[in-house]
């Protein structure tokens, strides 16, 4: 009984961690800022490639992952200043622009670095519970997902920088009137979103194939989580990830991967039909 329960919890945690880590960057860029970022996967790929390159140069893996996040964040800020800045409140244009960026990044990496890159291998080994063996690194990922949620909550709700960021995005004119440099706040917030995407890439790089198109495998899960969650990261994306993780791991255990994916997509169809504002819109709307 206990091994079965552990197995279910592990699979749930694994799916939850993937959804949270993959979608946090998008939750900030798309959920909060309203930029439909189709280059989200390429920020993830950038983080993964940087992480593996640094690790192969001999840097310890945690530092390499941090390097991946920083690299993606810097590129994100550069793209915000040059491209995204001009597209706020123009969602259709931002779709085309970010899609173009994503194609440039994928094909650019293919041309410059080739079709694949050798991985670094998953660290930390494995452990056994009741006849099943599990990867220890994935437990670490679950822990990081929870820490990430807590850290972002503290950042946005309990620091001055967080208040300014939320104020800038909700009422930019008022924030400007109060003396906030809104342009800089947009750049930094977009950069944070990109850095979180890069972190996702860095964290999953040791467990995956490194190819220029690897970002695509994160896209469906990220968008589904953010769309179901709605605009607020903590009231939205976190419970959305939890619900989707239950549905995904349950359906996959029951009928295989295909049904896991079907379950994910049916859930999003139902939720956006019933709760157009996502989970957070529903929770916040209920409060009024």
């Amino acid at each position: 009984m206990l091994p079965t329960l552990f197995s279910f919890l592990y699979q749930f945690g694994d799916a939850f961690a993937f959804l949270v880590i993959a979608s946090m960057g998008l939750a900030i860029i798309f959920g909060m800022m309203g930029v439909i970022n189709l280059a989200h996967g390429e920020f993830i790929m950038c983080g993964a490639y940087t992480t593996v390159s640094l690790a192969q140069l001999g840097l310890p893996l945690p530092l390499a992952i941090a390097g991946g996040a920083v690299a993606a964040g810097l590129i994100g800020m550069l793209i915000e200043v040059t491209v995204i800045r001009h597209l706020y409140n123009r969602p259709l244009d931002s779709i085309v622009a970010t899609w173009g960026l994503s194609m440039i990044a994928t094909q650019g990496v293919l041309i410059v670095l080739g079709s694949t890159m050798q991985g670094v291998g998953t660290p930390l080994g494995s452990f056994t519970v009741g006849g099943f063996s599990y990867s220890t690194y994935r437990l670490v990922l679950m822990g990081i997902a929870v820490l990430l949620l807590a850290g972002l909550y503290l950042l946005f709700y309990h620091t001055r920088a967080g208040v300014i960021a939320r104020a800038t995005i909700q009422l930019p004119r008022m924030a400007r009137a109060m003396g906030v440099d809104t342009g800089r706040v947009y750049t930094l917030t977009f950069g944070l979103g990109a850095a979180l995407a890069g972190l996702a890439g860095g964290l999953y790089a040791p467990t995956m194939t490194l190819v220029p198109t690897m970002g695509a495998t994160f896209m469906v899960e990220s968008f589904v989580t953010v769309v179901i969650g709605g605009g607020d990261i903590f009231l939205g994306a976190a419970p959305a990830a939890a619900i989707l993780a239950v549905i995904r791991s349950g359906m996959t255990a029951w009928q295989g991967q295909l049904f896991g994916q079907i379950g994910l997509l049916i859930t999003v169809i139902i939720v956006i039909r019933v709760l157009p504002g996502g989970l957070s819109g529903w929770i916040l709307g209920g409060r009024k």
Binding site: L110, V112, Q118, G119, V211
Partner: protein, 412 residues
């Protein structure tokens, strides 16, 4: 990693059309060969090398005077791992470029996407890829290995060594489904049991639950028929979870060189049946690898599809020279004689008139703990016999259909 020659190559690909006319060849005299392969997208890692193999063969042929005195000109398009691109470019090479022959396709989905177009315009296409078998179509010549060559050898050998309980993990499209049917039939015919079968949608990269399903089923070995870069993440994740089961495959190593891309020992005890990989230790294979690397020094891996594409160029050359024309009926009349053979990188191979598939020497490649390759056994000259025995005979009629063990050719 990036180098002048790679950038130059990329620029040429960007231009989409690569003309390889020999120095003084007259353009209208050239034999035009369409090349539709994935040079970007999910399959690029396994297929970019095919274009280089075809280029190498074309350059060799041109340097030696062309095909029957006519130079070879390649018309290359990047199909982007996208089935609709295959249809678009197949129409383009056949209708507006008017090529004499097309070399096309990696995934079986892409082949089935373009095949009706080849039939519609009475083209001739070489499919230089191992696949799930069963295509009985006079407009197609297949140089890749098929299940009676890859599974009828591999599965009984694995069952003898690792027991009769088998688990299949396969990509969820025509290749994976039909290959899994072959595996199932062979396992049952040898008195074994399928303890599990799971089909994975293309593009899936997270295998936590599948790994646990495999551990719960306790198979002797796992047949992995995973396709594309995303699905290859399975090996790393299974190794991290310490699954530690032997694996058998018709597509890994020989196609996507996973043993080079992943950190040892994640592919330990992977057994693959393939007609060529760059580690094959025969003089012919070594010579091929040597001249390939001399021409393309940055090539990450020379896989079985590279060898098959190269062989296909020389088979086509031989048929055209024997027939004295590029007319398809005349070429097939040569093929029907049953002696179109070529002694190349993977040893001597011959085209089978009934199915227009190719015989192969099949190497059993084993991945060791340090990801070096050993060859526990070799099966010489395995003919592509299944289609012919099942009733496909392209010398008599052309059904242009794909058959499987559960839907064989109709009995006459």
């Amino acid at each position: 990693m990036p180098s002048g020659s790679q950038l130059a190559k990329a620029l040429r690909l960007g231009a989409a059309v690569v003309a390889l006319t020999a120095s003084a060849g007259l353009a209208q005299d050239a034999i035009k060969i369409g090349v539709l392969e994935d040079q970007s997208g999910d399959f690029a890692a396994a297929t970019m090398v095919k274009v280089n193999a075809i280029t190498l063969a074309a350059e060799e042929i041109n340097a030696a005077g062309g095909i029957g005195g006519r130079p070879v000109e390649l018309v290359v398009y990047d199909t982007q791992s996208d089935n609709t691109r295959y249809q678009e470019f197949m129409r383009r090479v056949l209708q507006s470029d008017k090529v004499d022959v097309v070399f096309a396709g990696f995934s079986s989905a892409s082949r089935e996407a373009y095949r009706p177009i080849v039939n519609q315009f009475e083209g001739l296409a070489f499919y230089n890829n191992q696949y799930e078998g069963g295509v009985c179509d006079a407009n197609m010549i297949v140089t890749g290995a098929v299940p009676e060559q890859q599974f009828s050898t591999l599965i009984p050998w694995m069952m003898e060594k690792y027991g009769k309980n088998v688990y299949t993990l396969a990509a969820d499209y025509n290749f994976g489904q039909i290959s899994a049917e072959w595996v199932r039939n062979i396992v049952e015919a040898n008195g074994g049991t399928m303890v599990g079968e799971e089909f994975i949608p293309l593009g899936v990269s997270q295998f936590g639950q599948s790994i646990q399903n495999i551990q719960a089923a306790k198979p002797g070995f796992v047949v992995t028929l995973l396709v594309g870069a995303a699905q290859a993440s399975y090996y790393e994740q299974a190794a991290a979870a310490n699954v530690n089961l032997p694996m058998a495959s018709s597509v890994n190593v020989g196609q996507g060189y996973e043993h080079k891309r992943f950190t040892p020992p994640s592919l330990k005890d992977m057994y693959v049946t393939t007609n060529f990989i760059e580690e094959v230790d025969t003089p012919a294979a070594k010579a091929f690898v040597e001249k390939f690397r001399a021409r393309f020094p940055d090539e990450p891996y020379i896989n079985q599809e590279a060898a098959n594409s190269y062989i296909a160029m020389y088979l086509y050359k031989q048929m055209v020279e024997r027939a004295g024309t590029t007319d398809h009926a005349a070429l097939r009349a040569e093929l029907a004689k049953g002696d179109v053979c070529f002694d190349g990188p993977s040893g001597k191979v011959c085209l089978d008139p009934k199915s227009q598939h190719m015989s192969h020497t099949i190497f059993l490649a084993k991945v060791e703990a340090d990801h070096s390759i050993s060859f526990p056994t070799v099966w010489e000259n395995i003919a592509p016999y299944w289609l012919g025995e099942a009733g496909c005979d392209l010398t008599k009629n052309d059904p242009s259909a794909q058959y499987t063990p559960s839907s064989p050719p109709p009995a006459n």
